[in-house]
Structure formats: structure tokens, C-alpha cells
């Protein structure tokens, strides 16, 4: 099952994903007209700030099992089993704030919906766009590759391959003195820590 994968280290905090998200969930689905709609379509992806003002994209992870689904006292939050997406039924939602309390990522907001009542509001993994064969709007618009639409296992394989390559480079450099994969892994990690410290 394809899902939106977030690579926080690549995010530059340009907020284009937020605009694209709001437009994609508006009535007209067009940026010109979406801004004058009422109620105004609100983005479902957020750019959070970590310590030292490092931006990171923050959106619903569609957890399984989902804490918000468990906390929901009206069962307005449910899982689309086929697509593996956690969705909110705004007609059942009573705006009690329980899901915001349960969400470990803090991605639930409360906004005015089309039926002029306030209800919980979060990422639906662009379920409509997906049924049209498109990728989610935030992924389409992200220019730096911080948001990727793919199989989680494939993406993890790619990351592992990257690390392996670095380790291999390390081994090759050091092959004269000590050919030890573990020591170069350790070195790689200490470099990462050093970079993190500099920030």
C-alpha cells in the first residue's frame, strides 16, 4: 500500500504543500477560486518547528492501530480498510476535542466544514485524488523531496542502501589500515552527530 512518506531532514519550510493541500480539498480545486470560497478550505498538513527553528512536515501518519480512532467517542473516526487510511466523518463528529488529545503527532485541527458545523479536520491522504489515479497534492507540489509517495518498505530499502554505500566508501578509504565495517559505521554516526550539533 502506497503512503506519503515524510523525510523531515529535506524540508525547507516553504509551505507550498499547505497551499496545495488546501486547494486540493476546496470545492473548486483551483487556486484562483479556492481563496474566495466559504468556508475557506484549510490545509491538513502542517509545518512544525523543532528546536533551533528546524522545519519539518507534520501530517497524519494513519497509524495502525490509531490512537485517535480509539479516543473518538462517536466513532466518527474510522479506518478505510482497503486503502488503509484513517478518515473522519464530519457529520458524526461532535467537536469534543478527544482526538487532538490522543494524537501523538498533534495533527488534528478543528475547522468549519461545509455543513456549517465545526468538526475535526486532518489529512485524508487525498483519497479522492488517489481514486483518480493522482498522487496526493502535497507530494506533487513538494520541490525538495521531503514528501514522497511510495511503499514504506521500498523507501526504507533505499535509505538502507544509502547507508551501506557510505559504509562501503568508508571501508574503501581505510582498506589499507583496518577494513572494519563496524568502525566506519561508528564514524558515520559520529559525523551525523557532529552535523546535528553544528545546527
Amino acid at each position: 500500500m502506497k503512503t506519503v512518506i515524510v523525510k523531515p531532514e529535506r524540508c525547507v519550510g516553504c509551505l507550498q504543500c499547505r497551499f496545495a493541500c488546501a486547494v486540493a480539498h476546496s470545492k473548486s480545486k483551483h487556486s484562483y477560486t479556492a481563496i474566495s470560497e466559504s468556508p475557506l478550505s484549510k490545509p491538513r498538513i502542517h509545518i512544525g518547528l523543532l528546536k533551533n527553528a528546524i522545519p519539518f512536515p507534520n501530517k497524519c501518519r494513519h497509524c495502525d492501530p490509531a490512537p485517535c480512532e480509539r479516543a473518538c467517542i462517536t466513532k466518527a473516526i474510522y479506518r478505510d480498510e482497503k486503502k488503509n487510511i484513517v478518515l473522519i466523518d464530519p457529520t458524526r463528529c461532535i467537536n469534543c476535542g478527544m482526538c487532538a488529545m490522543a494524537c501523538p503527532f498533534g495533527v488534528v485541527r478543528y475547522h468549519l466544514q461545509i455543513n456549517s458545523k465545526i468538526a475535526a479536520h486532518k489529512c485524508d491522504q487525498c483519497i479522492l485524488r488517489q481514486s483518480e489515479g493522482k498522487v496526493p497534492a502535497c507530494v506533487e507540489t513538494c520541490k525538495v523531496g521531503a514528501l514522497v509517495f511510495g511503499e514504506i518498505n521500498d523507501e526504507m530499502d533505499k535509505e538502507t542502501a544509502k547507508v551501506a554505500e557510505l559504509v562501503w566508501l568508508g571501508i574503501r578509504q581505510k582498506s589499507e589500515e583496518e577494513a572494519n565495517a563496524f568502525s566506519s559505521l561508528k564514524e558515520y554516526k559520529s559525523k551525523l552527530i557532529e552535523i546535528a550539533k553544528r545546527r
Binding site: 512544525g48 518547528l49 523543532l50 528546536k51 533551533n52 527553528a53 519539518f56 507534520n58 492501530p65 490512537p67 480509539r70 479516543a71 467517542i73 462517536t74 466513532k75 458524526r92 461532535i94 467537536n95 469534543c96 476535542g97 478527544m98 487532538a100 488529545m101 490522543a102 494524537c103 501523538p104 503527532f105 498533534g106 488534528v108 485541527r109 478543528y110
Partner: protein, 403 residues
């Protein structure tokens, strides 16, 4: 074919049942409930009373959609357990054998002594309660109890333009979980909504009047209303567990696999006294999300998956049209130090309590966006990588502490 019996079909029972339907297609599952209605959400009763929801909006599951290996018995009570014979006895004399039994008997509201003196004193726990209140209510109500149930009931009623008196025995609302300062803020908010709040007073006597009831307060005031609704906490229902000789403190004691002291009997929900992460001892946190979670873990462990339940914390959300409070864990007590950040212009208060360097409690007023992160950090019970003074300001996300 394993025979699983669940006693009770509210939060914990329903959650366990749904988990079993998903994972145990080859078990025969029997659910026995005293209720006569389809599974409904108790938390919504205050909204039902406030006419925000109709009766149909309360129901959260359809028994007709259950697979054929599930058998639901409504309106029947389990009276005793014979643990050696793996047998339960029901009130109509029939008995059932089980391989695994889940007790999700829940809790009942604490009733004051004066409740017996008038037919206008109610608690709010079942649909029948709400319907009875509806029958007597005209335009004035007195709500006793400053906990979440009391406040939510009062808010529901004020929204349908009923005049509401809220009688609170302690000095401020939500005194069990909040500290005085935050409690006073909530009191002001409630007064602004139009609720008449009487703190440091309790109803000690009631007197009948032709179409209504007088309640005499300990602070020498007399309130007049159509009904008195009491929300002074709940008491776990333990009769059944006692009959089986299960170990009990204030609630049914369970280990991290939701097993009781008797083999093959599990327990979950409001009747259970599980480990409390924030308090670091066993405690009854009788709230809906905990019951759902415990039901899930009990069901998984009944199927033999040995999943460890990490423990509960008390947490709740109180949202009205003017304010949103999210609180979790404990805010006062021995060795607890609180840090706070108050922005009057936004009416925003963020308060985090620490024991040593581990966060154990929080109260966020009008700051819901990262409240969930903090709640889960309390559940995680690990030191943060930032100073408490920085953490409470909310200038940056604490999300990275979760990984």
C-alpha cells in the same frame, strides 16, 4: 473452537469484541449485557441531554453487522462465576461455559443519600437516565459535582437554554486533576457561559416542591430546580468479580496482560484498577479511551498474543464554544514541580508538571495543537531533551522526544 464470553458491551467490551471479530474468526464469542439498547457511547449522553444529538446519534455499532460466530445477549445479567467449572450463571438460571472470560462490567455512578427522597434526583449513565431527566426537566436544573461529567452535563443544558446551577464541593472545578489556578480559570469560563457556579458547597438536604425540588446547600443557600443531576464520580462494579474470588483493591487488579488473579479471567474498562503511569501506582482511570485500549489489549491477550499493556493515565478533553481544556496525568502532589506559560491575550495557558525530569501531568487551555504530543510524552514517561521552562512555552514542537 475456543469459547470466549464477554460481560458488558460498552467501551471495553465493544473494543474487545471488535478486536476479536477481526482476529478470531474461529472462536465462538458470546457477549452478555444488561443494556437493552444496541451499543452506544455513554460520553454522548450529555450531548443527547443537551439536544445536540438525537437518540440515533448515540449508537456506535450495529449488532446486525456482526459475523455468525458472535452471539449478543441483551438485557440479561450475569450473577455468578464458578471459576473451577469455567462456568457463568445468568439471572434467568441458564449457564454458559467459557474458555476465556472478559469482565467489562464497568462502573456505576455514586448516588448520594438524598437521592432516595425524591424522584427528581438523577445520575447520568444510561439512556434511560437521560430519558427520565427529559421527562421532568423544564427550564431549571441543578448539577452536583465539579468533575468532567458534571461540567459537560451543565454545558449541555446551558446550550439548550436551561438555567443551570453547578454545585461543587471543593474550591474550584475539576479539583481532582487540576491545580487551583487553572481550576479558577475554568470557573471563570463556566460563569461566562452563563452557568451559576457554587463552589465550596454541597447539597446536604433536599425538599420537595409541587413541580420541582429545592436543594439546600451547606453554604446556607437554597436552590430551586426541576431536577438534580448528580455527577460525583463512578464506582466500579465488582459484585461479579467478588463472587469469583478475584483479587480486588478499589477495582479489579490486573497484570500487564489484563489477566486477573483467576486463571482464564480477564478484565478491562472502568472496573479495572490498572497501573497508572503518571502516578506510578495502580489507579482507576475510568475514561472512555482507556477502556477502549484495555479492551483491545485484553482481547489480544485472550487470544494468546502476550501483548503488554503499558498502563493508563487519566486524560480528558473539555471543549465548549469558548474554551478548550486538555488535561492529563497529575498536576499536584508530592515531589511534583509545575511550570507554566500564560498568554492572557490569547487566553492560553500551558502547564506541565514534572516529577524529577519526567513529565507527569499537563493542562493546556486553548492550546490543543500540540497537546496530543505532550499527552503521549507523559505516557512515555521519559525525560525530555529540553529544559522544562523551554518545553512549556511551546515555541517549538516536542515531537522528536517521542522517537
Amino acid at each position: 473452537m475456543m469459547r470466549i464470553v464477554i460481560v458488558g458491551l460498552s467501551a471495553a467490551g465493544l473494543s474487545a469484541l471488535e478486536t476479536l471479530i477481526k482476529h478470531a474468526k474461529d472462536c465462538s464469542i458470546t457477549v452478555i449485557t444488561e443494556e437493552r439498547y444496541e451499543p452506544y457511547s455513554r460520553c454522548l449522553l450529555t450531548h443527547y441531554l443537551g439536544k445536540e444529538l438525537t437518540l440515533g446519534g448515540l449508537f456506535i455499532s450495529k449488532t446486525s453487522s456482526y459475523p455468525s460466530n458472535v452471539n449478543c445477549i441483551f438485557g440479561r445479567k450475569v450473577v455468578s462465576i464458578e471459576k473451577d467449572a469455567n462456568k457463568i450463571q445468568m439471572d434467568d438460571g441458564t449457564h454458559l461455559f467459557y474458555d476465556k472470560l472478559l469482565l467489562a462490567t464497568g462502573a456505576e455512578p455514586v448516588k448520594p443519600d438524598y437521592a432516595a427522597k425524591s424522584n427528581r434526583v438523577f445520575t447520568l449513565r444510561h439512556i434511560e437516565d437521560a430519558n427520565k431527566i427529559e421527562g421532568k426537566l423544564e427550564d431549571k436544573a441543578t448539577v452536583v459535582g465539579g468533575g468532567f461529567v458534571g461540567i459537560k452535563t451543565a454545558y449541555g443544558l446551558i446550550e439548550r437554554e436551561v438555567k443551570v446551577n453547578l454545585v461543587i464541593s471543593s474550591g474550584y472545578p475539576l479539583s481532582v486533576i487540576l491545580d487551583e489556578e487553572t481550576g479558577k480559570l475554568i470557573e471563570t469560563e463556566l460563569k461566562n457561559l452563563g452557568i451559576s457556579v457554587y463552589t465550596k458547597s454541597d447539597v446536604f438536604e433536599i425538599a420537595k416542591k409541587p413541580k420541582g425540588v429545592y436543594s439546600l446547600l451547606s453554604s446556607n443557600k437554597t436552590l430551586e430546580s426541576d431536577v438534580i443531576i448528580v455527577g460525583k464520580g463512578v464506582k466500579p462494579r465488582l459484585e461479579l468479580a467478588e463472587s469469583a474470588g478475584i483479587a480486588i483493591k478499589n477495582g479489579i487488579l490486573v497484570n500487564e496482560f489484563m489477566e486477573t488473579s483467576v486463571k482464564n479471567i480477564f478484565a478491562a474498562g472502568d472496573c479495572v484498577e490498572a497501573y497508572d503511569i503518571a502516578r506510578n501506582e495502580t489507579f482507576i482511570n475510568a475514561i472512555w479511551p482507556n477502556a477502549v485500549e484495555q479492551g483491545y489489549f485484553a482481547a489480544m491477550n485472550m487470544l494468546g498474543s502476550r501483548m503488554k499493556y503499558y498502563g493508563s493515565i487519566g486524560y480528558n478533553s473539555l471543549k465548549t464554544k469558548t474554551f478548550h481544556l486538555i488535561s492529563a496525568g497529575v498536576l499536584k502532589g508530592k515531589d511534583i514541580k509545575t511550570y507554566q506559560h500564560y498568554i492572557p491575550s490569547r487566553r492560553q495557558l500551558r502547564k506541565i508538571a514534572f516529577r524529577g525530569d519526567i513529565p507527569v501531568g499537563m493542562a493546556f487551555l486553548n492550546s490543543p495543537n500540540d497537546a496530543g504530543v505532550m499527552v503521549n510524552l507523559i505516557k512515555r514517561a521519559k525525560p525530555l531533551d529540553v529544559k522544562p521552562e523551554e518545553a512549556v512555552k511551546g515555541d517549538f514542537s516536542l515531537l522528536q522526544n517521542l522517537f
